[in-house]
């Protein structure tokens, strides 16, 4: 027989594994590196955060372990968007195309400076500030 605390823990773990499994399926079946990245960085991060939250409830008698679990969740939520954005930018600059399956127009096509990571038509637009990096950064 399970107590109420164990049932709450089990519910959070089940939410977590369902989200992680959906993320794994999306990583396998999506046609595009950018779509796969959305599955990994959103669904899998939320699923693992739910599992770690369940662990925080399970160890609720020990404050230090609860704090550690909360710190892991905060770290995950801070780093997952940053790493996904860096990887997507590097993939776009490296020439990975969008999938033809989606009816999406790549509006940056031909207007993106792949060395300095700035849109090349940005200087003419009103009010768009661009950060200019040195040209010879790649060396």
């Amino acid at each position: 027989m399970m107590t109420v605390t164990e049932i709450v823990i089990l519910i959070f773990i089940l939410i977590g594994i369902i989200l992680v499994f959906i993320a794994a399926l999306g990583t396998l079946k999506f046609p595009d590196v950018y779509a796969r990245m959305s599955a990994t960085s959103k669904a899998a991060t939320l699923g693992v955060a739910a599992i770690i939250f369940a662990a925080g409830i399970y160890f609720h008698t020990n404050i230090s372990i609860m704090t550690r679990a909360g710190a892991v969740i905060a770290f995950l939520f801070m780093t997952a968007p940053v790493s996904a954005h860096m990887l997507a930018r590097a993939a776009y600059a490296g020439g990975v195309k969008l999938s033809k399956k989606y009816k999406v127009v790549d509006e940056l096509e031909g207007r993106y400076d792949k060395v300095t990571h700035t849109p090349s038509g940005a200087q003419e637009g009103p009010g768009i500030e661009t950060v200019s990096l040195p040209r010879d950064r790649r060396a």
Binding site: V20, F21, A24, V33, I65, S83, L87
Partner: protein, 91 residues
Amino acid sequence: MSLETIIFVLVLPILSLSAVLALLRLMKGPSLPDRVVALDLMITTGMGISTCYAIATDQPAFIDVAIVLALISFLGTVAFAYYFDKVGEVG
């Protein structure tokens, strides 16, 4: 049914299956960023496995393993992104 039994019978197999699906993408992946995404998902699944094992065995030390895996995953992805930036064409 206790919590340990459910974790060992249901939760850990599903997480392992997710890691295997990510491994298939890691082997197939047409471009290099695909493989990095799959590796990231595998490490994230490993964090989930480690935390579930901490609950099942009542050993809170496995949560520290999840912390270290999160750090390694983030630093590895950032390092791969810098590498793609330096190397140019990766498609």
